[in-house]
């Protein structure tokens, strides 16, 4: 419970996912207290539900970092946490901002049976006005709703799930059902002219292939087919991993046009060699859904007077910094780096009382 109605803080961080947690820790390292707020009931963000993708070797997915970050944040007295707190209004005040937070109702349904990480539940009790020297928007991203591409059968054809659903199943213990023939379909909601999504979500090739490898490991008799446009590059370590995956999984360069109900499982229709239409039945079809701008992006643009960022994501403004996937698709590791940079810039902004130039650490 939080009885306060007005509060001062050097930095207000909106969003308690990987980026927000990192920003709070980095500010604390520099001796700057912060107030970390999240509209949801607990911290950790979307990456909280991700599974470990290692076999024997670490796959460097970064999912375990969420728990580590939460443990560290909980130990730092300089970081104040408020959950179920939604920013509704902001007013410029000197070099900083005055932000109004209102309490959000507790969500229905209970937390997962086995919490992988600290919960950090500190619900906001009443309307609160926060005066902050700088604001960091770490509001994350929205996962593309695969039902919007209705031809791919999500929610309609049994056996078609999103990559997020597979992550959750694996995090809780194992592959759903008796899946032996597994297909991954890439770029669902990314690189799509019809949807107006003219960008690559950057992380899907990496997480989908690692999930595919993990599925093969958990069910060695399974066969995995990987439908894709292009396989993106994530540096040298990845190239060695990819060579192994290419030997183990079946790669088909085609994005299926339709997934329909078959005899035993979903049937995938795609253009095969030379453009010939082909159909193949699977037990499980996983849709690698892309990253979209946060739904609240227009609201934040209006609240803080920001120019819309690239592809509808958020861009920094006067006294406002953006961290993590709120600024564009990026991996957990990249979000950590990005948030550390935002924290450094916020520190400089507080020192100088003026905004840091975009994309560059200011030289005071």
């Amino acid at each position: 419970m939080c009885p306060l109605s007005a509060q001062n803080t050097p930095v207000l961080i909106i969003g308690g996912g990987v980026a927000g947690l990192t920003a709070a820790l980095e500010l604390d390292r520099r001796g700057l207290p912060s107030l970390l707020v999240d509209k949801g009931p607990r911290l950790g963000g979307q990456a909280r539900g991700f599974c470990c993708k290692a076999l024997v070797s670490c796959a460097r997915c970064g999912a375990c970092r969420v728990g580590d970050l939460l443990e560290q944040v909980a130990r730092r007295p300089g970081i104040q946490v408020l959950t179920q707190a939604l920013p509704v209004a902001a007013q410029r005040q000197g070099p900083g901002w005055e932000v109004t937070l209102i309490p959000q109702p507790a969500p229905e349904g209970s937390a997962p049976a086995l919490a992988p990480a600290l919960a950090m539940e500190r619900p906001l009790a009443q309307r609160l006005v926060v005066q902050a020297g700088a604001v960091i928007l770490a509001v994350g991203h929205q996962v593309f709703d695969p039902a919007r591409k209705s031809r791919l059968g999500h929610g309609r054809v049994p056996g078609v799930i999103s990559a997020g659903q597979l992550e959750q199943a694996l995090a809780q213990g194992g592959l759903p059902g008796q899946a032996r023939r597994i297909a991954f379909i890439q770029c669902v909601g990314s690189r799509d002219q019809v949807l107006g999504r003219l960008y690559c979500s950057r992380v899907c090739c990496g997480f989908a292939l690692r999930l595919a490898r993990l599925a093969r490991h958990l069910a060695p008799e399974s066969a995995v087919t990987f439908f894709h446009m292009d396989v993106q590059d994530y540096g040298q370590a990845w190239r060695a991993e990819l060579a192994e995956m290419r030997a183990d999984l079946r790669f088909i360069r085609a994005i299926p046009g339709q997934v329909r109900r078959g005899q035993e499982g979903p049937v995938v229709a795609y253009a095969g060699e030379g453009g010939q239409p082909q159909e193949e039945e699977f037990d499980l079809v996983v849709l690698a859904t892309g990253l979209e701008p946060p739904t609240a992006a227009p609201a934040f643009n209006e609240m803080f007077g920001l120019q819309p960022g690239p592809e509808g994501f958020l861009a920094p403004g006067a006294g406002v910094l953006v961290a993590g996937t709120a600024a564009g698709p990026r991996s957990i590791a990249e979000s950590i780096e990005h948030a550390a940079l935002a924290a450094a810039q916020a520190g400089l902004h507080l020192a100088a009382g003026q905004p840091a130039p975009r994309g560059e650490v200011a030289h005071a």
């Binding site: 390292r29 520099r30 991700f50 599974c51 470990c52 290692a54 024997v56 070797s57 670490c58 460097r60 999912a63 375990c64 970092r65 969420v66 728990g67 580590d68 443990e71 049976a113 086995l114 919490a115 992988p116 990480a117 600290l118 919960a119 995090a171 809780q172 213990g173 690189r191 002219q193 003219l198 960008y199 690559c200 950057r202 090739c205 446009m229 292009d230 396989v231 993106q232 590059d233 994530y234 540096g235 040298q236 370590a237 990845w238 190239r239 060699e273 030379g274 690239p310 564009g328 590791a333 990249e334 950590i336 780096e337 550390a340 940079l341 450094a344 994309g359 560059e360 650490v361 030289h363």
Partner: protein, 625 residues
Amino acid sequence: MPRPALCWLQAPGLEGLDPQELARAAGLELDRGGVLEAAVVNIPEAQAPADLRLRLLGRPVQWLDLAAEVGGGQPQHRLARAAASLARAAGRASLGTLAPVYTPQANQRVLVAGQGLGALEAARQAALLGHPVLLALPGDDPASPAVGEDPAQVARLAASLPAGIEFSPASRLDNLTGAGGSFQAWLDTPQGQSRQRFGAVLLTPAGGWETEPSPPGLDPSLARPLMDWESQPLSSQPGWRQVAILVGVSRPASAQAFGRALKAALALQGQPRLQVTLLFREALVAVEQGERLYRQARSAGVLMARLAQGDPRVAGEGRTLIWQDQVLGEELELTPDLVLLSQEISAPWPTFLQNEVLWPPRQRLLPEHARLDGGRTARSGFYILGALRGTAPGGERLAEAAAAAQDLHELLGGGATPLPAVRNLICARCLTCVRVCPHGVPEHQDDHIQPAPAACLACGICAAECPAEAIAPPGWSTAELLEGLKQGLARAPKPALVLFACGQSVMPALASLSRAGRPWPAGLLVQPLNCAGRVGLELILRALSLGAEGVLVAGCHDGMCRSLTGNLRARLATGQAASTLDELGLGADAVGFLHMASNQPQTLARTIEDMYGRLGRPGQAGQGE
């Protein structure tokens, strides 16, 4: 207990003192060159001759700087002071008290070797944080940019450098040993090679352009590196009709290189009567604006030739490229007037980093893995920035350098980790600890093992490996661990399973299980460790001999261990224990090893259940602490 012997060595300042008389007064035997049980020596250890140190190996010894303690004055006063000092030392020696822990100060100097944004920003930030900085530049001008950087931005930064930075022009870092707080660096300068000490070292070489190999047999007059071409105005020669750009054809390319190739293709396609063909295998668009640029080039008329498996062939006197096209499924050919080869920013890996003495080896510093921790490497106090790391020129490099400076400042100022106590008295100087420490902490200096001040993570690998048990990480010495296990096993219900738990991955998972209120077998005895690498064969077998029915060792996944090889050492020790038990006919099932991450509590719970299943009787369910 025999009386400690007095080993008397003549030294300046001890004139007029009779060793026999002093030995009698202090209750000591005078050493006559035989076997010694315990000894008091009247000079510091560093000044003692090697043969005496050898004779005293493994014995409780008190080294005194008696000359300093006696001082000057009247002969009878000096005698009394000497006798008192020796008597105190004799008391300590007969109790077997060991030498005090060496507590060094972290060296505050910072070496930045390299040039460009990263080097300047790192030097600037470190100097602002109060560290004396030596900036070792490969050239003469601090304002020289690294490859791919904006010269104006670098010049602005060079002009804003604070005082307190020392420059060493035309210098190169040639070798490096040590660890955070105590590095030794060999610098090649025009004045010759110099060896200097630093607390932290940052390496950020300028890098260079690495060109994609030209297809074998291609007329060399056709091929040009892409960036050479770009630095000149992008205009075609009269009569040119066809330009081919190769990116990621004969080896994988990065998204940045793909983007540069697309920009060049767009610029050339805009020239009259010129057709550009881009040859590639994967469209690498995972950068901001990448997909838009790709579509823009395609709609501008750039031909996108996606190669199937197999390299392109060259025919027609080295002027024609022939490739199997993946989209059309047939063989295509092109006779270009110019072939542009894409380029990547790269930096040669310094030879001293290939040296096994200085961890980490190459594969631990690949860009993606390293990204998780800013500029840090597996060796604390040593940072790799910029081109060598794969960081893109611009703001990212500044951020990386600032983060590294902040990190080294905390490292050198902190000293939060208590250092392992090295008992130099019983140390055999076998240098096993120097060899096995993944962090480079123990240094062999003046015939002592001295831990470097800021680098120790208390993983305990040294303690697991030391044959003389002369090294004890605070709280994790073998004696302390065994005592704890003995007490725990005396209380634990049967069957008792000892879990040696890594603090990075296993303890957080156990905390999750506890938070979920998950019951675990009452006979489970958790021994938390900083790193699974603390577990050796001996510890596993001793746990079994103290009454444990089973031992489970759990550590991080391969490649995630903060101490690099701690998890692998533990796995090896578990394997050794299993085969030892098997040979003795005791069954290898009593020991197990698990690789896991902190977000895998389910895996841990399942493995504990499996272990109990193997031990025969199911454990009685109890509640986790």
